[in-house]
Structures are given as structure tokens and as C-alpha cells.
């Protein structure tokens, strides 16, 4: 006997759904449950139910609110710069047309590099004393002294320095998505605007960007979520320092869990962080994908 199409579709989806339920939903459930307990870091140690105490402690701690603001600032800087650079490169490739195809592929290479390697590499480029960037800027006459800018040692700028590898790694992604979007803009529309006397800025802001809006929105949301979770590159460059000036939420949760041995508090922080991400994602998804209309 043939099973119905609906059953068949369900049968095809079940393994993946079970996998995600067991290995994502269940650990998440454990995380939320742990956030209501005071847990000893020693395995098999005491677990005391403390209600919302961990949440009060999280919001009362300066480390937590500070990490929240830093994560926000970091995400905004990364996404803004990536978007500007990615759009510039996508326009450049589009204007050069087919002949730039091979360079488009080469431009994708950072996407294949491990974030840990990228972080390490940029740390080496920006490090005090033997970092190459300070030296090159000094030799070019821009800096009076190669160590004038303490890229990774000055608490005032370190949050932006640690963002550089992230930007370097994923501008290619932004470029790839925007380039694909640009290919869907009918050439006639551009030519029409040109005939009407539109200059480059008008062309960009009045025609290209409005037409790309859905693509831009998707790219910004995807990258925004990833940037807000950044961990590897920051850990390897500064470990959150100096003086916690580059400690974002992922790092704070990690350190609270592992270094300070307070899984209950870390779980509460993780739960708040997750809820904030879900709220942002929900707003973004419901405005962009418009569930029910497509898919």
C-alpha cells in the first residue's frame, strides 16, 4: 500500500529532525535548566536550586553588561565594514564582467581558512615590536614610531583591532551574495537610468541598492548572527584582554564556565544571550522571509 505524500515527506524529514532534537534542542534544554541551579564545578558536586538568582547576578555584574555592549559594537563594526567592502568588490567584479571570473574565485580564498589561523595571522601582523603593520606604516611615514598604535594592547582600540580578521575572512561571503544579487538586476534598467542622465551615485543609491534590498537584508542578518557569536579569532588574539576590553559575550560565557567554574551563572548568561539572538533573528526572519508567502 502506498503511503500518502504527506506521510512520505514526514518520513524523509524525520531523521534530520530527530538529530536536531537530540543534539541541539536537548542540550539547550539542559542549558536552560542549569541556569536555575547553583552548580559546583566539580563533577558530581552539589546542585542547589536557586530560582532566578543566576539571572539577577548576571544582570548585576558589570562584566555581563559590558560584554553585551561590546558584542553589539563589535557586530556593528564588522557588519558595516564588511558590507561596504563587499559591495565595493561586488560592484567592481560586476563592472568588469566575465573577464574577472578567475579573480572572483581567488577572492574567495579566505572563506576556506580557519578563523583560528586568521586570528593568529593578524595577531602576528599587529603585535607590538615585530608586527609588520606598524613597521610598514612607520616606513610609509604615517606613524612616527612603529609601536605608536598598540593594536592589541591599547584597551581603547583593541575591540576594533580584533574585528579585522573577522572582516578579512568574511568580506568574501558578503561579496559573493551581493554579486549574485547584482546579476539579477536587469541591464536595461541601468541603461535606461543612464539614458535619463543618472550619474553613478544616483545609480547606486536610487536603483541598485533599492533593488538589492532583499539580498542585502539576508546577507546582513546571516553575518550579523555570526559576528555576534565570534569566538575563535578574539580568543587567539587577546583572550578578551587587555582588561576585558575585547571580551565579547561568547568569551565571557566560556570563561565563566571553564575558568571561573560557575556553570549555573554561565548557563543563565547563555540563556539570556540566546534569547536576545532569537528575538533579533525572529524579527529579521519574519520581515525578510515572510513565512507562508514562499518556501
Amino acid at each position: 500500500m502506498r503511503i500518502s505524500d504527506r506521510r512520505f515527506a514526514l518520513f524523509l524529514m524525520t531523521p534530520a529532525a530527530l538529530f536536531l532534537a537530540i543534539f541541539v534542542a536537548f542540550p539547550l534544554f539542559r542549558l536552560v535548566a542549569d541556569s536555575f541551579y547553583k552548580i559546583s564545578p566539580i563533577a558530581g558536586g552539589p546542585r542547589d536550586f536557586v530560582g532566578l538568582d543566576n539571572y539577577f547576578r548576571a544582570f548585576a555584574s558589570e562584566a555581563f553588561t559590558g560584554a553585551g555592549w561590546r558584542t553589539l559594537a563589535y557586530t556593528l563594526v564588522v557588519v558595516t565594514l564588511e558590507f561596504a567592502l563587499g559591495l565595493g568588490m561586488a560592484l567592481l567584479f560586476t563592472m568588469l564582467g566575465r573577464s574577472s571570473q578567475i579573480w572572483r574565485t581567488v577572492f574567495m580564498y579566505p572563506l576556506m581558512i580557519a578563523p583560528i589561523v586568521a586570528g593568529l595571522l593578524w595577531k602576528f601582523l599587529m603585535i607590538d615590536n615585530f608586527g609588520l603593520i606598524g613597521t610598514l606604516l612607520h616606513q610609509a611615514g604615517i606613524l612616527g614610531n612603529p609601536n605608536q598604535i598598540g593594536w592589541l594592547s591599547d584597551p581603547g582600540i583593541v575591540l576594533y583591532s580584533v574585528a579585522i580578521p573577522d572582516i578579512w575572512l568574511t568580506t568574501s561571503f558578503m561579496c559573493l551574495v551581493l554579486f549574485a544579487g547584482l546579476q539579477n538586476i536587469p541591464g536595461d534598467l541601468i541603461e535606461a537610468a543612464r539614458l535619463d542622465g543618472a550619474r553613478a551615485p544616483a545609480l547606486l543609491f536610487r536603483i541598485i541598492l533599492p533593488l538589492l534590498r532583499p539580498v542585502i537584508a539576508v546577507a546582513l542578518v546571516v553575518r550579523g548572527i555570526d559576528a555576534a557569536r565570534a569566538f575563535d579569532t578574539i580568543l587567539i588574539q587577546t583572550n578578551g584582554g587587555p582588561q576585558s576590553a575585547s571580551e565579547t559575550m561568547s568569551l565571557l560565557i566560556y570563561r565563566t564556565m571553564i575558568r571561573f567554574g560557575d556553570p549555573g551563572l554561565a548557563s543563565a548568561m547563555g540563556t539570556i544571550y540566546l534569547l536576545a539572538m532569537l528575538a533579533v533573528a525572529f524579527v529579521a526572519v519574519s520581515t525578510i522571509w515572510r513565512p507562508g508567502k514562499d518556501t
Partner: protein
């Protein structure tokens, strides 16, 4: 003249055009004169093109330089590596760093762990994602719609939030510190992405294809396996590359879930920093050995998929 007329028409309906660029593209009849539909943005004048090529060259140099510097550094002598002021090219080329890095205990084993973990995770992602994505796109049921949304939501979960509970789960079933446990963790990252990617590839397959197959006596599973999957093999390859890279380059789960036995190379690279002080030379050598094969592999795959 024809052009001007059509462009007037297009210019007169900006609202519909901005709402659905693809629909606008479909309205415009394809023209034979030029092969691609993006001539509008493509620069025509020779002087403009020259300027653009110069810009591109500058961008490529700036963008490629960091990795080249990593390569150059890996061939420097230890003294050169931390010389003040630093030089771009090695004063003396040496393979010392490669010998040191690869000869260090745990490094060859970590490569095997990385390969094992990435392959298991890729296979697992594909086996789970291909049927699920097919079920979602072909039958368009309510459950499918809910599922693809749920899959997107799981992508937002920060790994640091589920890493520890996941590690203790694996420990309680005796899988602590194994490539299998880590590849399962990596699949939680790549599976939602794979489902999403595969759905977009299945979307492009005409429905008549498997209808013809079922008429010819194929079961639905048979039609999927023998007719649809060969058609989307290119998409499966792309998805496999994404899943492989996601696992190969992942660090946080690997840090939380592995000890000595199943440690992957990213963790070893990170450990160089604390364990061996400032051994930049070996670190860059190991990073180069870890990155280059994957970059070349991806490039050759994408080149092949273009030719196909």
C-alpha cells in the same frame, strides 16, 4: 530606438521592479546580441576598464598579502621571524619550521583526527540533509515549512551555549573524546546550512522529472535515488564542501569536547601559543600545511563544477 522604448517602459514601473527584480528580469525578453543580462553595469569604456583593473589589482594585493606573509614567515629562520624591524621576505629560506611543526608529538595524529571528523560530519550532514530538503521542497507540507524555519533557528544557537551540555551527553554514552562525538557536534552546525542549501538546489529541479520516473514504475524513493539525486549532484558537491569546511575549520566544539585522543589541528595550533611561548615560525608552518590543501581542493572542485 527599441532600447529607448523598452527602457521607458521599465522606468515607468519602478514599484513593481523594485519589489521583484527576478520578475522584472523575466518580463524582459532575452536578447541574442549579448550573452549575459548584466551589460547595464558592465563598464564599456577602455579608460574606465583600465582604472577598474588597477583597482582590482590593488584590492587583490591587499587581500592576498596577509596569507602570503604567513607563507613567507613559515620559511624564515627563528631569529628572522621576530626580528625588529620585520622583513617581508625571508633573508634566508629554510624548511626548519615545517620539520619542527610536523615532527612535534600530537601533530600528525591531529591531522588524522581532523580528516576523520570532517569526513564523518560531511557524510552525516548529507545523509540527513538530502532527504529532509527533498521532503521539504517537493511536498510543501506544513510540517516541512515549520521544519525549515526550525532549522534556520538552530543556526542562531551560539555554540558556546550548547558545547558543555553536549560534551557531558557524549560522556554519558561513552563517546567522550572521540572523533564521532566531535563530528556529531560539527553536524549540528552544518546540518541546518546543508538543509537550506539542498532545498534551494531541489527547488530548481522540474517536478515532471520524477513524475515521469514514477509513471515508469519507480517508487518515490527510487525516483529520488535514481533520477533526482544525479540531477542535483553538483549541488550535493557544493553542500559537501560547505559541510567539510565547517568541520575542518571549527575550533570551539573541538576545544570543549576533545582532550588528547581526538584533538583536531585547530586546537593544536591554538595550543602552540600557550605551550611553547612565542614559536611563531612553527605555528605559521602548521597553519600553512593545514590551510593550503583545503584551498586547492575547493578551487579545483569549483573549477570542475563550472566546466560541467
Amino acid at each position: 530606438m527599441r532600447l529607448a522604448e523598452r527602457t521607458k517602459h521599465d522606468g515607468g514601473t519602478p514599484a513593481t521592479a523594485s519589489a521583484a527584480p527576478s520578475a522584472a528580469a523575466a518580463v524582459v525578453p532575452p536578447r541574442k546580441r549579448r550573452s549575459v543580462n548584466r551589460e547595464g553595469l558592465e563598464a564599456g569604456r577602455r579608460s574606465t576598464r583600465t582604472l577598474l583593473w588597477i583597482l582590482l589589482a590593488a584590492a587583490m594585493v591587499l587581500y592576498g598579502f596577509p596569507f602570503l606573509y604567513l607563507l613567507f614567515t613559515s620559511f624564515k629562520t627563528p631569529i628572522d621571524t621576530i626580528a625588529v624591524p620585520p622583513t617581508i621576505l625571508p633573508r634566508e629560506w629554510t624548511l626548519e619550521n615545517y620539520v619542527n611543526a610536523l615532527g612535534r608529538s600530537g601533530v600528525p595524529a591531529s591531522f588524522i583526527n581532523s580528516i576523520q571528523t570532517a569526513i564523518i560530519s560531511t557524510v552525516l550532514s548529507l545523509v540527513l540533509a538530502v532527504p529532509a530538503a527533498y521532503g521539504i521542497t517537493r511536498y510543501k507540507t506544513l510540517s516541512g515549512r515549520i521544519f525549515i524555519m526550525a532549522a534556520l533557528v538552530t543556526r542562531m544557537v551560539p555554540p558556546v551555549a550548547i558545547g558543555i551540555p553536549l560534551a557531558s551527553m557524549m560522556g554519558s554514552v561513552g563517546l567522550a573524546d572521540t572523533p564521532i562525538a566531535l563530528s556529531i557536534a560539527h553536524t549540528t552546525i552544518s546540518l541546518p546550512l546543508s538543509i537550506w542549501l539542498m532545498s534551494s538546489f531541489f527547488e530548481a529541479v522540474p517536478k515532471d522529472l520524477e513524475e515521469a520516473a514514477t509513471v515508469d514504475g519507480c517508487s518515490r524513493l527510487g525516483a529520488l535515488w535514481r533520477v533526482v539525486i544525479p540531477v542535483v549532484s553538483g549541488g550535493i558537491a557544493v553542500t559537501a564542501i560547505f559541510a567539510f569546511l565547517a568541520s575542518w575549520n571549527e575550533f570551539l566544539f573541538a576545544l570543549l569536547m576533545t582532550a588528547i585522543r581526538s584533538q583536531t589541528t585547530p586546537v593544536v595550533i591554538a595550543n602552540f601559543q600557550t605551550q611553547f611561548g612565542l614559536d611563531w615560525g612553527s605555528m605559521t608552518a602548521l597553519a600553512a600545511v593545514y590551510s593550503i590543501p583545503v584551498i586547492l581542493l575547493t578551487f579545483s572542485c569549483s573549477a570542475r563544477s563550472w566546466r560541467a
